[in-house]
């Protein structure tokens, strides 16, 4: 299925921040096991995790939220371009299954302030 995710709920920033920090501490620059939810927090001007490694053909559950202003969560790679909004006060959840190995970039595509252009995260998809 390729559809606009419909799962969004309000959240408590402090609690979500803890989830995102725990995720980043455990899996930054590491292979994420398939049953682990990926928690990402956007902040001026970085993503809470800088690189994750995922397996091709596996369903991953992503959660994205913002700690401050509006951000855009944009995955850009050779075989995929997906863009959703990251709104303060809302956690947006979606499932993604990369069908091709390679390097994907997560950039912020909603202007969030002077450092907006530097927000970058890498998703390495391995076969």
């Amino acid at each position: 299925m390729r559809q606009v995710p419909s799962s969004a709920k309000e959240f408590d920033v402090a609690a979500y921040k803890e989830l995102a920090t725990n995720f980043s501490n455990k899996y930054n620059n590491k292979l994420v096991p398939p049953d682990i939810d990926i928690y990402i927090l956007a902040q001026q001007y970085y993503w809470s995790v800088s690189k994750i490694i995922l397996k091709e053909g596996v369903n991953y559950r992503f959660h994205v939220a913002s700690a401050d202003v509006l951000h855009g969560f944009s995955i850009v790679g050779d075989s995929a371009v997906y863009n959703i909004m990251v709104m303060p006060g809302m956690v947006y959840s979606f499932t993604m299954n990369f069908n091709k190995a390679g390097t994907y970039y997560v950039i912020c595509n909603e202007y969030c302030g002077y450092g907006h252009g530097g927000m970058r995260m890498i998703i390495e998809v391995i076969p």
Partner: protein
């Protein structure tokens, strides 16, 4: 009250109206110049040419400042000032009746000017780099919101004066029967403009209250209501542009085209736009969390798609009128009339180029207004690619061409340089076309809009980025030629008995000639076919992408 009769179509121009229209148009020109200067920096910033970026000193700190300046001056100030000048022209000059509430109209101008100065000041001071959308919780200097509100308030008063003028012309029997088509179109634009002003003021007063600590901010509410301003304002532009195109086709053919335009049909198409405008807001929130899928689908996708119907109806009417004029003067093959289009007549060449620009821009709009494919295009350069074709290659080009007729009509002076005007139309159009198509290709690959970054690590087509600078430079040159010609006409040109000389093509309409519009119909059908092909392609593209839900 002093006035004079124009030889052209026996229009009566009142001196007071003339001054008011020219004052509003001069403000539009100033705004266009500021927006154009900002465009040099933005286009250089996105060109990826590092020496250019260094010479101009573009940085993370000032790129967004230039972008805010560009957005506010182009999308709000230039367009609104020009539209108000056009509203006054279509009510007062076309109905041969003086502007009602002349002093109030000047008051509106001064409030708008005051608002604009506050906005420009806050942007220049570096405290309002929030871009045209000003999405909270990004916060600007309160002066920015106060200026924005004042400008919209003044514009609202001006629109009311337009309606008051029509009303007074009607009760004093300045015109008989139904409104002339161009005034009718302008009135539809005026109705939408009132809703825009209303929603804009609500949004910005709420934002100002939040900014000074009186209330909390609901970002979703802001996004919805802001697009009541930001999106519907674009439909004021589209409707005003189409009204201007009817004026151009009629002016450029020395009124010959008038008898080939079905007025009832065109008026119906204008009225249909108002039905679909408000539901169209939703295409801006298609990938926002929090809004229901059904609202997104109904409002964003369906509402926006329906807007293609009246737009295509107008495209057919305008192209058909041109075809009929040329056929009735003796050319009969299906597409043979296209070769006979007077390409050096600014009104006609601009009309054709604006229609081409609208067609490409409108086709590109379909994937991004559809719930699922929009996931691939949202907030990429595809979006400004689309809207530069609509607002710059469309609305702006149409307004530029109209001004080549409007100034001579108002001042009875010949255009400073007819030749420059002819070249200018093409320079601007091709500049915008190169710019917009480059943006579209980069956006297709995911290049984010409103982002100052080096895309070379991310995009495979990053090397075409310099074309952004090439296209923008041509367009900016075209803008400069236009501003120069307009101001030189007001200041340097001499009065003439035939101020529109060189700007008009005369047709010898043969009685009982073939006035078929088959060629125009075929063109419109091919636009629909290309539109549907792109539409289906965007789903095929999506299907090849990873699962996402």
């Amino acid at each position: 009250m002093s006035s004079y009769i124009l030889s052209f179509g026996s229009l009566k121009v009142y001196n007071k109206t003339k001054h008011l229209i020219i004052a509003n148009f001069i403000m539009a020109l100033i705004s266009l110049a500021i927006g154009g200067i900002a465009a040099i920096f933005i286009a250089s910033g996105r060109s990826g040419i590092s020496s250019l970026i260094n010479i101009l000193g573009i940085s993370d700190m000032n790129y967004y400042q230039w972008l805010t300046l560009h957005g506010m001056n182009m999308l709000i100030f230039w367009i609104v000032w020009a539209e108000i000048a056009i509203l006054y022209f279509t009510s007062s000059v076309l109905l041969s009746w003086p502007i009602y509430g002349y002093r109030i109209a000047w008051f509106a101008l001064s409030i708008m000017l005051y608002g604009q100065i506050l906005v420009e000041y806050s942007i220049f001071s570096g405290n309002a780099s929030v871009l045209f959308t000003a999405y909270p919780p990004l916060a600007a200097d309160p002066l920015f919101y106060i200026g924005y509100i004042a400008f919209l308030f003044g514009a609202g008063i001006a629109v009311i004066m337009f309606f008051a003028t029509i009303y007074h012309a009607k009760v004093n029997e300045a015109y008989k029967g139904s409104l002339p088509l161009v005034t009718w179109g302008a009135a539809i634009a005026g109705i939408i403009a009132l809703t825009v002003v209303f929603q804009g003021i609500i949004t910005l007063v709420y934002t100002l209250a939040w900014r000074i600590g009186l209330t909390s901010m609901n970002v979703m509410a802001y996004r919805w209501f802001f697009w009541g301003l930001g999106h519907d304002a674009q439909y004021v532009n589209v409707v005003a542009t189409i009204a201007v195109l009817y004026a151009l086709v009629v002016l450029g053919t020395n009124l010959s085209a008038m008898k080939f335009i079905n007025e009832r049909y065109a008026k119906l198409a204008f009225a249909l736009v108002t039905l679909f405008v408000i539901p169209g807001i939703g295409h801006h929130i298609l990938v926002d969390p929090g809004f229901s899928i059904i609202l997104k689908q109904a409002s964003g996708s369906v509402g926006s798609h329906f807007l293609s119907i009246p737009t295509l109806m107008h495209a057919f009417a305008l192209a058909g009128a041109m075809e009929a004029v040329i056929r009735a003067s003796g050319h009969t093959s299906l597409f043979g009339w296209i070769k006979r289009i007077p390409w050096s007549n600014p009104a006609i060449s601009a009309t054709v180029l604006v229609l081409i620009s609208f067609a490409i821009g409108g086709i590109l709009a379909q994937p991004q207004t559809t719930l699922q494919p929009n996931l691939n295009y949202h907030n990429t350069l595809w979006v400004p690619g689309h809207f530069h074709l609509m607002i710059a290659g469309g609305t702006t080009l149409a307004f530029m061409a109209l001004s080549y007729y409007l100034f001579p009509i108002l001042t009875t002076k010949k255009l400073y340089s007819v030749k420059l005007a002819k070249i200018q139309i093409y320079t601007f159009f091709f500049g915008i076309l190169i710019l917009a198509l480059t943006m579209t290709i980069l956006g297709y690959e995911g290049d984010p809009r409103r982002t100052f970054m080096d895309p070379s690590a991310i995009l495979s087509s990053w090397y075409i980025s310099p074309l952004i600078f090439v296209g923008a430079s041509l367009a900016i040159l075209g803008g400069a030629m236009f501003i120069f010609n307009s101001i030189a006409t007001v200041l340097l040109s001499k009065s003439s008995k035939n101020p529109l000389e060189g700007l008009i093509t005369n047709y010898d309409i043969k009685e009982g000639a073939n006035i078929s519009k088959r060629g125009a119909l075929a063109l419109c059908i091919s636009i629909v076919i290309i539109l549907l092909l792109l539409y289906f392609f965007s789903f095929i593209r999506l299907a090849a992408m990873p699962e996402f839900y």
